[in-house]
Symmetry: C2
Subunit: 123 residues, 2 copies
């Protein structure tokens, strides 16, 4: 069968198509599937967390990567940052409804991997 007209690159990019290298969806995908993006999304499913709480929950993140990844996900509209002008600083992060939807799907993948790990060939 032939390729339908709606498969043209421009159309696919407007709809959102990860197969189109320059589609913005690739950016979001990159953020969401990044090492720390995955863990932050899942970590926040339990509810709102402060920066340092999240840092403890997502063991192994550096402050640098945590801050950076949080900004990316915030820019994508997947989480919100609320800061309170007190001292010491108090900043809270929580998923948006959109972020919750993304997190559910990411967690479905990681849960599956964790479950099936024994079936997967040893590295």
């Amino acid at each position: 069968m032939d390729v339908p007209a709606s498969n043209r690159l421009a159309d696919r990019m407007q709809r959102g198509d990860v197969f189109a290298p320059r589609c913005p969806s690739r950016e979001v995908l990159k953020h969401v599937t990044s090492t720390w993006g995955v863990l932050i999304l899942i970590g926040l499913r339990g509810g709102t967390l402060r920066f340092s709480e999240l840092r403890r929950k997502v063991a192994g993140v550096s402050e640098r990567m945590l801050a950076q990844t949080l900004q990316q996900l915030e820019g994508d509209g997947l989480l919100v940052r609320r800061s309170y002008p007190v001292v010491p600083p108090h900043v809270e992060y929580s998923l948006t409804p959109l972020g919750e939807e993304a997190a559910v799907r990411v967690e479905a993948l990681t849960d599956w991997i964790e479950d099936r790990l024994p079936s997967l060939v040893k590295t």
Copy 2:
């Protein structure tokens, strides 16, 4: 509340826990969520494909990255490689049942991103 004993690092790694930095599940996760890993898994959902067919379907991959990512996913038991001793070479790749399960979840995520792209803040 305290951390239960089953949350000890060693236990979490045996079960498979992406939050444990040295758990093998992190390796699999890395392969599956890599730029080309994602696209290859989805690309193969349509059925068996040859190397060059896959290369055309997953637009933008270099031969180098395609070969390398295929080897990773094969090592994880997510796809199988069948080669026929003919000339010119003929090699087929297809998902294993395990790979199909993974691909479904990966595609659920990418489908969601494609759908919700308009809702996501512009970069």
